[in-house]
Symmetry: C2
Subunit: 576 residues, 2 copies
Amino acid sequence: MRKFFPFLDWLPKYQKNFFANDLVAGLTVGVILIPQGMAYAMIAGLPPVYGLYASLFPILVYALLGTSRQVAIGPVAMDSLLVAAGLGALAITTMEEYIVMAVFLAFMVGAIQLTLGFLRMGFLVNFMSKPVISGFTSAAALTIIFSQLKHLLGANIPNSNQFHQMILNAFNNLSSTNPYDLAIGVVGILIIVLLKRWNPKIPSVLLVVLLGGFAVYFLGLESFGVNVVGVVPEGLPSFNLPAFELDRAKEIFPIALALALVGYLETISIGKALEEKTNKETIDANQELVALGASNMVGSFFQSYPVTSSFSRSAINAESGAKTTIASLYSVLLVVVTLLFLTPLFYFLPNAALASIIMVSVFGLIDIPYPKSLWKHRKDEFGVLAITFLFTLFVGIKEGILVGVLVSLLVMVYRTSKPHFAVLGNIRGTDYYKNIERFGDEIDMRDDILIIRFDAQLYFGNTNFFKTQLFKQIEAKGDALKLVVLNAEAINYIDSTAAKMLMHVIEEIHTRNIEFYIAGAIGPTRDIIFTTGIIDVLHKECLFVKINEAVEYFDHPGNVSLLGKNVAHQSRIFGN
Amino acid sequence: MRKFFPFLDWLPKYQKNFFANDLVAGLTVGVILIPQGMAYAMIAGLPPVYGLYASLFPILVYALLGTSRQVAIGPVAMDSLLVAAGLGALAITTMEEYIVMAVFLAFMVGAIQLTLGFLRMGFLVNFMSKPVISGFTSAAALTIIFSQLKHLLGANIPNSNQFHQMILNAFNNLSSTNPYDLAIGVVGILIIVLLKRWNPKIPSVLLVVLLGGFAVYFLGLESFGVNVVGVVPEGLPSFNLPAFELDRAKEIFPIALALALVGYLETISIGKALEEKTNKETIDANQELVALGASNMVGSFFQSYPVTSSFSRSAINAESGAKTTIASLYSVLLVVVTLLFLTPLFYFLPNAALASIIMVSVFGLIDIPYPKSLWKHRKDEFGVLAITFLFTLFVGIKEGILVGVLVSLLVMVYRTSKPHFAVLGNIRGTDYYKNIERFGDEIDMRDDILIIRFDAQLYFGNTNFFKTQLFKQIEAKGDALKLVVLNAEAINYIDSTAAKMLMHVIEEIHTRNIEFYIAGAIGPTRDIIFTTGIIDVLHKECLFVKINEAVEYFDHPGNVSLLGKNVAHQSRIFGN
């Protein structure tokens, strides 16, 4: 029960002082949500009021089912762009049909997300590594900041989801900057930044909204060309089951799939990024899929188009001190009240004030220390971060995530294809066997014994590497060599390709009159040694628990401890 | 020098008795090559004689540069199909232009392969695991066997590169079977199979060719509708540099890239499959790219269309006992002599005899024991094999390889995302610490200590798994727990995502008043512990070489060996 309704977990622990935090955060987000939602609906090609419809039921459902306490659900810029691009490619003639398709799209997106959630496919998100999330978050934050430039400057800058195009558009239209808009925006940014330093408890964001509205109203700034939110239409959405048609479903399935995955990745990565800052880990990947799917599906019954987690509003929500998803209920309340009664009040809100709020909130998501530390110690992971960042910035959000995940998997595969490989020696006066390159001075080397450690699973991607390195070391030892010991402690798996290679290698070593022992094989590896037939070429007495026991057996074959043998030979497959 | 001209390696060691083997194999392959080459040229949409042109210079160049001694290069059915499909999509009006484009395609394919070879991209082939090669080989062998049905039956069966379509086509045309063709084919198969059992040294394949030709000629079987090779055109190809045009190059680049990769994969996988049988590993992946690239490029100067390694002829070559690439020189010689003088002699060769030879040779490539053993012990790798097999058979050669490689990488990644995880205990009377599930009876358990071993690198894909499992074990221990020891012997890497997780985990464990030690970390892992800041939350004195030392330190913090400490703290980054 608690699994499906996470609020049952925290509701009983709800503290009094949470109330003020949640109320302020919820109202602040709500105030942003209303104009943002309308703007995003227009990006999606829908009448503005559909952005408000998308800000009601999806948020309520997520508050009940979601596992992140700060993620703010609703209409989002990137997804709105995807909706426009997807539906624009279809042969739709009337606005009525377009609306029906957008709502049906939300239904499909929800159905796909729910299905993935019930199939417990949320583990897919494990493959988003920290470098990918960091690069993606920073790039998305930059994209959103620059998308607000046109509101901050009051200039007529065309939209784009590619950074270089945005910059270009901004430069070309700098001349149309409205100084009053710019002044409102800059003052807004200063108020938020300075108040936060002075006393973080003051609801600076709400203050900027109020001050901005009053300034426009009382100073009559509208007549100086200051851009304001303007007329907000009235009334709540009605209940309607989306009309399911198989042909239609087939037609929009690819768009729905893309939206379902991108939306999910956005929610999870925003959730994880926020979690990272608070150090409290509550997000359950499968439950998030269920929550997001249900939000979209229920939303589609009330004229919502596809929603997901909003970068800017989630940041504002966290920034404003939201403690639980109750905050979002206040946002919804504000939307309801607005739709019913308050639309005239939003008329004078200047866009530049909203832009300043979004820019400051999102600025905090840009991550500098982490890439810096990666650059210092992990050039490969820095590369993953940089590629994700650049792709997200210059190509697109979904491409950025996709490429990031693929590259980080490739790095992992490449790493295991050329793993660390060490020649070991006995540290004088101990039974430690360690890398001769690290402990050269303290080590007694023997000409007749080669001890090697291979630090990875043995699988098809590194069998050639293993063989080449092993024989290089054997050649280096020359004719004196009589025994090769493979320390298998770090070999956590042997696949069938590697098993075949290992058998060939052991046979080849035997033909050179050299013995081959394996020491320290862990249980699952012992099982593999027994089932693949490696044991037939190796012989049972050549398996040891520790290197010193292998060397001891080589020097004095009589002195063998029965217990050691039993431990070395234990296997699920053949017993002791 | 020897690297680029592998023949310098074996030529000085050439043995007298190799001569007969190479001669027989070379002539046998040559006899197959001539009619096959002509048939394949027709599949590619070219006049038959271009199949012979493709059987001259590419083979010579490969003999000098190739690292496999048995692979037979030349025109190939699959690649001919790709050429036809690729060029057919372009706006080509005359046969002259079509020929120019096919030859230019060979030039482009060669250039791409040479570039990849010089960039040392041959390592890509490491990612073809045994299950993929086995599944692919068996499926390709089946495809080729069934493609010969029409010749064996003398029936008019349309070609297809998809197995189910082939079977369907064969069934629909069974009625047009010619009993004389069928008789020749069946007798051919019996001769080869039985002679091989009786005395493998008899050149049964050549015998079948000769007997078949004589039978048709002396018994006048042609009048009974027996299909024969027929008229072979005369003359050698002239030298011509392909006319390079940038527009043209751009246009056919995608086809050339596909052919370059598929051709390379075919050559390498055939080479590896043959190598597998002889147990001598000579193939160098980068040099093979260079050899194949040079073969295609030089070939294109003499009117060759794209070539690669032929499944059937390579099998026949190995079967007939070829020892070195000198065998292929005899094939070329036969093609030259044929083009100049002998074309009439091939006239009476029955297609059914050729089909019987191909079918028997390729039959041996179908691999049964390996999938059987995988099915028994490695269900996951059996799955990879089965998927590769089915895709190759029912979808296509290149799709089969591609899907196989992707699935085997996915299996590897999935495996490391949920690795083996063990709770260890002290085996009575020893200093061994082993899995309590495997050695339960012999182990002394302590309530105040939890010792765990995680058998994989720690990376973004398994950090959640690690954390969940660890805390599950900690909860199970209850309040008595005072120490957690992580045996890190099998953790061969910690990426930055996992490092962050590990720091959070250690802090969380400390807040519960439990100590956390790490034992047995190998050098590269120690370096990571020092550079990522894990050491700051862990403290230096909590690193140990062995588990028993960690437990000893916990029980008697005074008794610490200085040497053990030095070894445990060694790191490239901060020294001792």
